[in-house]
Every structure is written in C-alpha cells, then in structure tokens.
Symmetry: C2
Subunit: 242 residues, 2 copies
C-alpha cells in the first residue's frame, strides 16, 4: 500500500464530473459500508481503493496492491461527501446487455438522486433484472444515488437510452403509472413486462404514455395531491412481483 | 402589513429550536407552496405570515393584518432553509384527540426527517386518521419533515406518547412490520387497526414487538439487505387500505 500521489488525487477528483466518469466508464463508491460491500460483491470491477492509514488495514489482503492511502485532509479534498468518511473505491462499470425477459423498470426523467437510489434499492429487494432510463434521468453513478441505493448499484444493471425508441421496439407489455388509469390491483401482469415511472413533477411525457399497453393508478383514499415516485414504485412492484 | 420588528425576527428564529416550538405549541412552514396551502386549509391556526415585500401582495387580503414584511437578507436570517425562499408562516398546532377507530400508524423511533415526511404524505394519500409516535421519534414539526410532507402536516394529527403504554391499553389489533413475520398479503386486516413501523436501523424495540397481534413481512425476491421504512410503509398501507 502506497500513498496516493497528487496526480492520483487530482484524477479521483476529476471523477466527480459526470462527463469524466462516463468517458472512463468508472464510478466512485464512498464510505465504509458501500466500499466494503463493493469489494465483496463487485471485486472483479475494482480499480482502486483509497483509504485513511487508520482504515487501510481493514481492506482484505488481496486488494492491498490496489489500495492507496491518504491523510484525512486529502480524503476530505477528494470526497464528494460533506461528512468525513474513511475510504473511497473506484470501480469499472459492468457492461450488461439489455434483457428481453423478466420485469424491467423504465424511468422517464427521474431527477432526484434520493428517488433514484431508493428505486435501485427496491429493484434489488424485488429481484428486478434491469432499469432502463431516458437520457435525461439523473446519473445513477451520482454519489448520492450510490449512497441511497445501499449496494444495489453493484447488482442492478442500469441502461441509459432513448426511451421512446426502446419502448417502441420491445415486444414486452408496457405498464405505465398514471394518475387516471386502471386501479393497479385489477390488472394482470405477465412475468415479462416493463413498468414505466415518470418524472417527479411532470409525470411521463405524452409520447411515452402513447406507448403504454395499460395505464395503472394507485387509488387515493385521502387528500394528498400525489405520491412520491419512489413510494409509488414500491407499491406497484410489490403488487406485480408477488 | 408592517415590517417585522427585530424582536419579531428574534422570536421566529427562536422557533428553530424544538424546545421553544413545543413550549409555544407552534410550528413554522416555509416556502410559497407550503405557506399558501397552510393558509388555505389550516387558516384558523394561522398566527403570522412573514413575506418578502415582493411576495406580500400574493397573500390573500383577509390575512394582511397578520402579515409582516422582511428584506431578503432578514428572511435569510430567520429561515431554516439553505435555499432562499419568499415566505414563512407561523401556525398554532391543532389539538386532536387520540382516536380509537380507523387505521392508525404507530412509529417506534423513526429518525430521518425525510422518512417522517414521506410517511405523513403517504398517510394523507391513504386517508389514515392519525400517527402515534414514540417520544424518541423525530419531531414532525422539523422544517425538513414539513417540507417533505407536502401539506400533510395540516391534515394528519401526529401524537407523541409513551408507545408501550399506548399499545398496551388500546383494544385495536396491532400489526407490526418485521423481517420474519407472516407474508403481509396473507393477513386479514380489520378496518380499525394499528400498523407499527420501527426505527431505520434497529427496527422495533422488543418490548413493542411483544405487543403485536400479528407480525407482517414483505417477502424479498432479490438480494437487498432491507427496505427503506417509508417504502415499506407504502407497500403495507396500499395492501391494508384497499
């Protein structure tokens, strides 16, 4: 284990920018829990671990040749988090192929990193095979998404694509969450299907809605104006999967 | 409409502290959407509106005698939010009595303001009558809770009490969310019941679990370690209410 060079520190900081992360097909995981889980379940994609001296010995031996140490001040400078932490890992992204079976979640313009992370975590709980996002959906390799995904980022493939083209060409049945569709409990869901969820404020775009086979709705019994998109996804997944 | 005095500004700032809010039985709502909804649905509890000069004229006439103006700099100083906003309202808290019918949500030590706000919003969507919290549950009058509740704070009564005493004395059936209970879809829920949700990391305390009539579980189909408490609440409410 060697100290991380100044050039190395600069490089890690450069990965805070989506453009650079995308170009190198890498992402950063921060914090003890997230890094340790990544090392354990995503080891073949590990590029580098950066750790405080005091923490470095907790990294399993086989990764020591890829572990670099930093001072608390250096870690603070290369971290994306406000609260101090002990380690950062750099992972290569897995290259999954788009699947045409099982349940897929499609996201049309989700903006909030917390919602994206929660949806990833839900997908991981319910055994969803993949998430397909419109290009304007928040970056799943954003540090807040990775944190709130609770390790799901290592297990659930996320694709960014032109959602209209994708939904136009798939033969899978498409179910879209809307405010005025059929009650979601009255619908039969096949095993292979796509559940489409829309943007927090605007919902799904009309061009996407036009591609739905069935619009589904969670009935309201009280007075709230709307449900949060992650909680709506939870309710729909629980019904579709079970 | 008069400018808010220095003493008035100091008083509003004092309400950032839970102790002071509790003592005066007041709470603050910030931001245009939250303030305007409060004025509209919770008008009889309105104590005072504080607004930028540029915004004050949007406040309906009948509230002008209770509207005070501030400069952008003053608003920044009395606001709890980091991002600038246009207005703050001070409301008295409603004094609801504990109900013994309908569906009640009981929270045992929820800590995250975002989760609390999301659960309030869910309660408002599903027509839940009240939320009963253990004394160590996050304050529902916390500014982050009020923001994420999307107006639900005006409609859903929240009680803080000794949860063990409350659950011991009620005759309602108690359903508790656990990791190893009966599948939640295989349970019959009466109309009058209590759904108990536990702390984000530790779940419900053993003394509370001992009071459950039925422990319910959301089956896992994938590999995530756990579900977020607000998404779990969403899934359970959707099943119980419909």
């Amino acid at each position: 284990m060697e100290p991380l060079s100044k050039a190395g520190q600069k490089w890690v900081r450069s990965l805070h920018l989506k453009k650079n992360r995308d170009q190198e097909a890498l992402f950063l995981a921060e914090g003890e829990k997230s890094v340790m889980e990544g090392i354990s379940v995503f080891a073949s994609y590990l590029e580098m671990v950066i750790a405080l001296d005091s923490f470095a010995l907790k990294i399993p031996d086989q990764f020591h040749s890829r572990t670099f140490t930093v001072s608390p001040k250096e870690l603070e400078q290369i971290s994306e988090l406000k609260t101090p932490n002990k380690c950062i890992a750099v992972f290569r992204r897995s290259k999954a192929v788009l699947l045409e079976n099982g349940l897929t979640i499609a996201l049309d313009g989700i903006q909030d990193p917390g919602n994206m992370g929660t949806i990833l975590r839900l997908a991981d709980w319910f055994g969803i095979k993949q998430i397909v996002c419109s290009k304007d959906t928040v970056d799943c390799y954003n540090s807040k998404v990775i944190q709130s995904s609770m390790g799901a980022i290592y297990r659930i493939p996320v694709h960014y694509t032109d959602l209209i083209t994708y939904l136009s060409h798939t033969t899978l049945q498409k179910f879209g969450a809307m405010l005025n569709g059929t009650s979601y409990k009255k619908v039969n869901y096949p095993e292979d299907a796509i559940l489409v969820m829309g943007n927090e404020g605007k919902g799904v775009r009309p061009e996407i809605e036009a591609l739905f086979d069935v619009s589904v709705t969670i009935p309201r019994f009280g007075q709230a104006e709307s449900l949060n998109v992650a909680t709506a996804t939870a309710i729909l997944l629980a019904e579709i999967v079970s």
